[in-house]
């Protein structure tokens, strides 16, 4: 079974900086208060680079890329 990557957010840590939506608009939108709404579908390999960049640049380190 090939590993599937998904993006999750630790909403307790998140402070709505919005960097994730900026860097990974393919899968992250913001709600009316600026908090991320994340598409829960597995991330295809072509988009993994964008996902990793969003994770690395979150000022609160609240984004997590899972591989189950």
């Amino acid at each position: 079974m090939k590993k599937q990557h998904r993006l999750i957010v630790n909403m307790i840590e998140c402070e709505a900086h919005g960097v994730c939506a900026e860097l990974f608009p393919e899968r992250v939108q913001l709600d009316e208060w600026g908090y991320p709404i994340i598409d829960q579908e597995p991330i295809p390999p072509a988009l993994l680079k964008h996902a990793r960049r969003a994770v690395q640049n979150c000022p609160k380190l609240a984004l997590i890329l899972t591989d189950e």
């Binding site: 630790n10 909403m11 307790i12 998140c14 009316e32 208060w33 908090y35």
Partner: protein, 428 residues
């Protein structure tokens, strides 16, 4: 061989004394001595019995108790048992009644569960506003220590009176010295809980059932209820009924029969709130014949929750009542997750506007958008429960929504005040 259990009802409440808490001697005379059977590394015989009984948690989530016990037993190292007596659900009074009047039944269940899962420590968490329950639990712990009942060390903690303080990760965080607020998962408490150890958290009533299953066996437990949802359950019945009470019924009893057990309704009812503030509104005529089972309630968009039935009288505005409660529930956020903090406030404000007959159509539309936007986005499930409360209120009082839209105000009598607890300001 298990002892022969009592036939019919009451079970848990058989030892209830109106004149005060039952003492240790009377407790043993009433229910029999706790049948210590020893645990072992991957769970003692009690876990088999609880699994066979089909008992599900009575704290709201209805999770299979035996499975939860086995999961904790399978983790390495000594574990901890936490008795969840927080009862953050404002309408529920059944755990408080058990802890106040029948503390030894709950503590027996905790001690037997500790033995089965390999725990050497038991923490009994009780809402700090429930002074009588606190006092009764402390006296019972002392009496058991003096009589050397059970092997695990038992201590009590007083929890902040907040709705989410009883959420499992919040409870663990508080016992570990933090605020009574939910934490990010994983880890779940069964992996890493109190002092980093595997932790079994069970609702007080659930453990009281465990104490009886240990004595009388799973077949006895299954003499009441249905094959999928066996046993008895405690209900708190409140609102427009003759006698607001806590009573014990067989699972599968209809809502109507439960109301009759509370002396009947004080008049014609328009709706029931089933499961408490974390539950669902149902029209009274639709609800009356529905058996109290998750299987049947689910078909009506409801669940048993903590076993609360609140009867709402006709002639009063359910939207005004729901708006008041929604405002309280929005304030009960732990204040950690943006969608919960801002989303629940926006939902409560939109509901207040509908209750007042202002911009009704637009606010109904906004609410449905907010439900979809906020649902599932908290670190815990708290916002989802509040959404269910408001969503089912809109549906159940749908005719009122139409009238508010047409009249631009409410023409019904103000509702009877639903209980809203006062918070003392401290999470620590």
């Amino acid at each position: 061989m298990p002892r022969v259990g009592p036939e019919g009802l009451p079970r848990l409440l058989a030892g209830y004394r109106p004149d005060g808490p039952i003492g240790l001697q009377d407790h043993v005379a009433q229910y029999g001595p706790p049948p210590w059977r020893g645990g072992h590394r991957h769970g003692g015989p009690l876990i088999d019995a609880v699994e066979a009984s089909g008992l599900r948690g009575r704290g709201g989530a209805s999770f299979p108790t035996g499975r939860k016990m086995r999961t904790v037993a399978q983790h390495r190292g000594r574990s901890v048992v936490v008795v969840n007596g927080s009862e953050g659900e404002a309408l529920s009074a059944k755990d408080r009644l058990l802890l106040t009047s029948l503390p030894h039944l709950v503590l027996d269940g905790a001690a037997l569960a500790a033995e089965a899962v390999g725990a050497d420590e038991i923490v009994v968490a009780v809402d700090r506003a429930s002074r009588r329950a606190q006092a009764s639990v402390h006296r019972a712990i002392e009496a058991r220590r003096a009589a050397q009942v059970g092997g695990a060390l038992v201590r009590g903690v007083a929890l902040p009176s907040r709705y989410v303080a009883g959420e499992e990760t919040a409870l663990v965080n508080f016992v570990n010295g933090g605020a009574a607020k939910p934490t990010f998962t994983p880890p779940r408490p069964f992996e890493r809980g109190v002092n980093g150890r595997p932790t079994l958290i069970q609702n007080a009533e659930t453990l009281a059932h465990v104490a009886l299953i240990a004595r009388y066996g799973p077949d006895w437990f299954r003499q009441l209820g249905t094959p999928d949802e066996p046993g008895s359950t405690l209900l708190t019945i409140a609102g427009a009924v003759e006698h607001g009470i806590v009573c014990e019924v067989a699972l599968g009893t209809t809502i109507g029969a439960a109301v009759t057990a509370a002396g009947g309704a004080t008049g014609t009812l328009s709706a029931f709130l089933v499961g408490g503030y974390y539950g669902s509104w149902l029209p009274a005529d639709e609800a009356w014949d529905v058996p109290l089972l998750n299987a049947t309630l689910r078909a009506h968009g409801a669940s048993l929750g903590t076993g609360v039935l609140y009867a709402f009288p006709v002639g009063h505005c359910g939207l005004v009542a729901a708006a008041q409660v929604a405002d309280y529930l929005a304030g009960e956020t732990a204040g950690q997750c943006g969608p919960c903090v801002y989303g629940l406030r926006a939902i409560a404000d939109a509901m207040a506007s509908i209750a007042a007959g202002q911009q009704v159509a637009a606010m109904v539309e906004r609410l449905h958008r907010l439900f979809d936007e906020v649902r599932g986005r908290g670190a815990c499930n708290y916002p989802d429960g509040v959404i269910r409360f408001v969503e089912t209120a809109l549906r159940t009082f749908g005719a009122e929504v139409e009238r508010h839209a047409a009249q631009r105000r409410c023409l019904l009598a103000p509702p009877p005040a639903m209980p809203i607890p006062v918070f003392d300001g401290r999470w620590q």
